[in-house]
């Protein structure tokens, strides 16, 4: 008993020191500056809607300057204004072409900036802009397409700026388009009367708990999970036993979920504090009974974006469904490649290293196509009928959940492949998981 208590004491001490040391991490900076922004949004509550939005825009830009750099924040504002002017004030095809040119420029920004803009030891800054511009880029595309092709009404500049630069969702999503964020606006701290104030105060503990829960998840997962990833990849899985390798695949899945959903928890809580019901990004993805359902429960805002701006424009379910599905997942893989390129640079992340994300995308796309074939192909109807007949619904559901979970966990392996390890490591790990090596 005393040994157990001693272990707990040391573990608690290590954890406390680890959390203290993590205070300069990108996440803690994001959470802290986000909380300050939320408080400033609350301070602005006596102002009207316009004033509050302007304060939030200003606070978001200030947060970008603190977390990124003043120069980059100014560049982000200038870029956002330029895109707005082009979309709203340059008519016809010229405006659309110019808009796409600006979208392309945002994609290529690391190559356009002077070398010293993102070098040095501020690695967090590079990661920050890599993640943020990946998400921001999607919002910019959505704005251009919504306004130019879908006839969605124009929003005032302040609302557009807030949607594209809203700090709580700027770094890591959820990906909210201008329309979505405007639709999610509530009164928040702009209360009318004491009853509304009491209602707002009654919701505060929930928001604070969500914020604390998210932060705790990120810190604990960073501290305890994924510690042996590099070694396992570097040794092709031989550094651990077979069972541990399966557990490691689950650990990859769990750590990614816990960290990513922790970021989302913080973003959602901060949004609610200032009156924006930012959409959820996760819906218990482990309950998914197929890979397709998994993608409706995992990184939901990105999935919706891919559906609206890639899958449906390609033809959706109307024609060439298989091609459209695979192309959509390939686009997802390449989007992640682009993010990694911005962090690591072309030299450290050459095309040969891109295979991890690409294979991950195609694995998921292939699984969605295969599942669709299984559920729709007439030739296998007798088999489907037999399964329905012999297996109770509960067993079928649990088996489907287990298969989807296992497949997704294995698919995360190429996703997390370090750039300095060849792709064959994934293959060797898989062989070892199956007791073939």
């Amino acid at each position: 008993m005393s040994e157990a208590l001693e272990w707990v004491r040391w573990e608690a001490l290590d954890l406390a020191i680890g959390c203290w040391e993590a205070r300069h991490s990108l996440f803690i900076h994001f959470a802290l500056y986000g909380a300050i922004l939320a408080c400033l949004g609350i301070v602005a509550s006596p102002l009207g809607d316009r004033g509050r939005i302007r304060v939030l825009v200003a606070a978001s830009i200030a947060s970008l300057a603190l977390l990124g750099s003043p120069g980059m924040a100014a560049a982000a504002l200038a870029y956002a204004l330029a895109l707005y002017v082009v979309v709203e004030h340059v008519p016809g095809r010229a405006g659309t072409a110019l808009g796409w040119l600006l979208i392309g420029a945002l994609a290529a920004y690391p190559a356009l900036l002077p070398e010293t803009a993102l070098v040095g030891n501020a690695e967090d800054m590079r990661e920050f802009w890599a993640f943020a511009t990946n998400v921001w880029w999607l919002r910019c595309i959505a704005y251009l397409v919504d306004r130019r092709s879908r006839g969605i009404p124009r929003r005032p500049l302040r609302e557009y700026l807030l949607a594209t630069l809203f700090f709580p969702t700027f770094v890591n999503g959820p990906i909210e388009t201008t329309e979505q964020l405007a639709a999610h606006r509530r009164k928040g701290p702009a209360v009318d009367g004491w009853d509304e104030l009491r209602a707002y105060l009654a919701r505060l503990p929930g928001m604070a708990l969500r914020f604390a829960f998210g932060a705790t998840k990120v810190l604990l997962a960073t501290f305890y999970l994924g510690q042996s990833n590099e070694t396992i990849f570097a040794t092709g899985g031989t550094s651990v036993g077979h069972v541990r390798l399966w557990l490691w695949a689950v650990e990859l899945y769990a750590s990614f979920y816990v960290i990513f959903s922790g970021w989302t928890d913080v973003a959602v809580a901060l949004g609610r504090l200032v009156g924006y019901e930012v959409q959820e990004n996760f819906d218990a993805p482990w309950r998914a009974r197929s890979v397709a359902e998994f993608w409706r429960r995992w990184h939901i805002s990105f999935g919706v974006w891919l559906r609206n701006y890639v899958y449906i424009p390609l033809g959706g379910n109307r024609r060439h469904t298989v091609r459209n599905v695979l192309a959509t997942f390939l686009a997802s893989g390449l989007w992640h490649v682009w993010g990694a390129l911005k962090v690591l640079g072309f030299e450290a992340y050459p095309p040969a290293a891109w295979s991890g994300f690409v294979v991950w995308g195609l694995m998921n796309g292939g699984a969605v196509v295969a599942a669709r074939w299984w559920s729709e192909a007439e030739g296998v109807e007798p088999v489907r009928a037999l399964v329905r007949e012999r297996l109770p619904a509960l067993v079928r559901d649990r088996a489907n959940q287990a298969m989807a979970f296992g497949f997704v966990a294995i698919a995360w392996i190429p996703f997390f492949l370090p750039p300095w390890v060849g792709f064959d490591a994934c293959w060797r790990i898989l062989q070892r998981m199956l007791y073939l090596a």
Binding site: L13, Y33, I36, G48, G120, M125, D192
Partner: protein, 357 residues
């Protein structure tokens, strides 16, 4: 009625009161959070303002100023900066009890500023990277004490080890030696700053926001000291002739032997890492050879030179204005040190043979 009021439905001052109440609460919270942020972040300090960081210490000569948090930045406009927190022992290290966790292995890194980690992110520092390598092998936890202090050569490191370091119950002691400074006839020195830095007054010692506005750390309770590097480099200068260098090398070897003896008397292993200086200057790579057989030693000079010559991408081996290693320097050193200690069998079995799940 103003347009903003029509949008929100405000009709009079009585309905505004709740909003002002919310606003006041927000203002208090924002101020508290700003103070927290400023305390966590620390004051931006130019990298070459070394006197601000150091403080005299009766027991060990001098250390970093305990309890300080600052962000080392390059005030010449390059885009790098890194936060540093000094613990209560005056080391650029995390808070750490002297007592060792059962089953863990403790390493003391001794030496001067070259590898103290100022200017690089915490996760990139030699001490943290070395501990992370043990995490990677799932071996026993490493507790690596970053006891590198500007101006510390072998004599100062010995003094610190005897008077303070042994309290950490080290299993391995490593001296990070800058051959261009520590093994040459001319060494750097320490001087007390008299009135260069005025004592903090007003709100500056109390509020991190005030410190941030004033642009300097607020706490300097004792004598700030500055490390003055050698005015000239010995190598290639007429005065430091062969006999002078031989004498200096012999002195350094004696000092290293004393360190090794002290460490071994306390039951700890001892090794030497010869650290290529920043900015790069030539030095005679014969110290490791002279120590061969007595003390495990590795010289990173050839590796650094090879990378400077052949690397396809610009490497951050040094942060030139700081005279310290950059993150790539720390990365290389961590692997070299790990291998050295493994080859010399200074790692306990529990470190290299993983047992953690």
């Amino acid at each position: 009625m103003r347009e903003s009021e029509s949008e929100t439905g405000l009709v009079g001052p009585r309905r505004r009161a709740p909003r002002w109440a919310v606003s006041a609460v927000g203002l208090v919270l924002a101020t508290v959070l700003l103070e927290v942020a400023a305390r966590l972040e620390g004051v931006p300090v130019c990298g070459d303002a070394q006197g601000v960081f150091l403080e005299s210490d009766e027991e060990v000569g001098w250390t970093f100023t305990p309890g300080q948090t600052f962000r080392v930045t390059d005030c010449r406009g390059r885009a790098w900066s890194a936060p540093v927190t000094i613990n209560h022992e005056g080391l650029a290290d995390q808070p750490r009890p002297f007592e060792k966790r059962p089953g863990s292995v403790r390493v003391l890194l001794l030496g001067g500023q070259l590898a103290d980690g100022l200017g690089v992110a915490r996760r990139d520092r030699l001490s943290v990277r070395l501990a992370h390598l043990a995490d990677q092998t799932r071996g026993a936890r490493l507790s690596v004490v970053n006891a590198l202090v500007p101006g510390y050569g072998p004599p100062e490191a010995l003094r610190w080890l005897e008077r303070r370091g042994l309290r950490y119950e080290p299993d391995v002691v490593v001296l990070v030696l800058d051959p261009s400074r520590d093994a040459e006839p001319q060494r750097g020195s320490i001087r007390t700053l008299d009135a260069d830095i005025a004592p903090a007054s007003g709100l500056v010692p109390l509020s991190a926001i005030a410190q941030w506005v004033a642009g300097r750390p607020g706490v300097m309770p004792r004598h700030p000291v500055a490390f003055v590097p050698p005015a000239t480099r010995a190598v290639g200068r007429g005065q430091a002739d062969a006999s002078g260098r031989a004498t200096a090398h012999a002195r350094t070897q004696r000092e290293i032997a004393s360190l090794a003896e002290t460490a071994q008397r306390a039951g700890a292993g001892f090794a030497v890492l010869i650290a290529p200086p920043c900015p790069s200057v030539a030095y005679e790579p014969d110290l490791c050879a002279a120590l061969a057989g007595d003390v495990p030693c590795t010289d990173l000079g050839a590796t650094f030179d090879g990378l400077r010559r052949d690397a396809k991408r610009p490497l951050e081996l040094c942060i030139d204005p700081l005279g310290r290693w950059g993150r790539d320097g720390h990365f290389l050193a961590s692997h070299a040190l790990w291998d050295l200690l493994a080859q010399a069998k200074l790692w306990p079995e529990t470190v290299v043979r993983g047992y953690r799940l």
